[in-house]
Amino acid sequence: MSDPILTVEALRVTYGRVEAVRDVSFRAQQGSLVTLVGANGAGKSSVINAVSGMLRPAGGRITFEGQDITRTPAHKLVGRGLVQVPEGRQILATLTVEENLQMGGWHSGTDGARSVDAMYDRFPVLADRRSLPAGALSGGEQQMLAIARALIAGPKVMLMDEPSMGLAPKIVAEVFRVIEEIRASGTTVVLVEQNARRALRAADHGYVLQSGEVVHSGPAGELLADERVVQAYLGVESGS
């Protein structure tokens, strides 16, 4: 097996005296879809924010394409191909849809005009609303905008934090279809989700987090088939 594109070893994240993430390790192979699942407050978002450079880890080591990036700030990682779709979408509500997409090309020093046009082909709903303030979009459209904006940055690894949060089941299915397309195109995806069953169905490998620690990990299919994991951590089927 080739070297993983992303490795996280013994990661620690603290907020003051509170230790939110303890000794978390995981790895993602090139072109794979890895998911971190767990309940609210399990530390999933802290892990992904540490990997993306938005948070400074208290300990551990993160490598991307073999290079240590543990203390590299987010704005430098985007240009190297480690791109985050943040929790809550974080679209720029007063900028137009087009300006939001152009911001995806910020690190390249251009408007990314060709990439923006490619995104309009891929997400026609955004093309129809290109001149509107992004805040006028529906939740599902905002999520598509956040994903399209991240794709314009040209990710090698896409870190997605709760992309289905607050969306209707039909839109969730659409979001997961797009995620699987991204993975199929060769981009590595690290997906953080509360919707654990849905995430594990899409993933190659899964990590179950509880109270800031990895309590189970393995091939996603095996985790889904493990009755103890299902009963203890995945809960009842939500239907989405």
């Binding site: 938005m54 700030p73 987010a74 985007v78 974080q90 509500a93 007063t94």
Partner: protein
Amino acid sequence: MQQLLNGIFIGSIYALFAIGFTLVFGILDRLNLAHPAVFAASAFVGIELVERGGLSLWAALPIVFVFGALLGLVIERVAFRPLKGRADAHFAGLISSIALAGMLVALLQWRYGPDTRRFPPGSFPDTRFEFAGAQVTLVQVVILAISLALMVGLTYMVTRTRLGRGMRAVAENPTAARVLGVDVDRVTAVTFAISSALGAVAGVLFAINVNTAQLGMGSAIELKGLAVIIVGGMGSLPGALIGGLLLGLAEVFAVQYIGSSWRDVIAFGLLFVILLLRPQGLLGARKVREV
């Protein structure tokens, strides 16, 4: 007509000063009260460049622009960036920028002394025009042209360019901007540099307009600048332009038709009336501050 033109000339300087003020407020949601000290310092530096450096008035302006930009970088690095993580960063930045302004004015006094300074005789061209029965000097026309060109250029930059998009992204959501690869500290520093460069040019133009530079000139315009950005709508560049022109016109007409002692009463009274009718300012959006 003469008073109308005079009001527009002085109003355009107020607007240029206020646009620098409101640019930082719009980006950082913070008031940089060292801005008036940049206004004053640049006037003194401009006079020195002409007097001792032997430069023409117009050659001195780009140098003062760069001087102002460098001062802006220092202000951001010293008075604002170290405090950005504090819960009371708004208030702390306000106070630290006042402290830095005090230091700048003290340095001016150390270098130039307490006396009023003027451009050397012969610095200004004598060319005058007749316009609709009013007298206009070439200097006034150039002041207006420079002010308008800088304001139009800045508005274009903020609304149409990549840097402007980055500034607006940082203004709206610094977290989202970082996720997108924006170096928030760098964009913030550039914003301060542009803001202070505009304040610096405003300072020199003001000194040219009245052929005077005083240590207290920054304090004198500070309140007017704050009034202009509140009336125009906090963070609104076109609002600052309209507010500046309104204040300039109100002052000139108050002096002409009522009396010089009534100047501030009429000018600020008019601004109060505008705020009573439109509390968010002329072009400001209603905004609820999170606490």
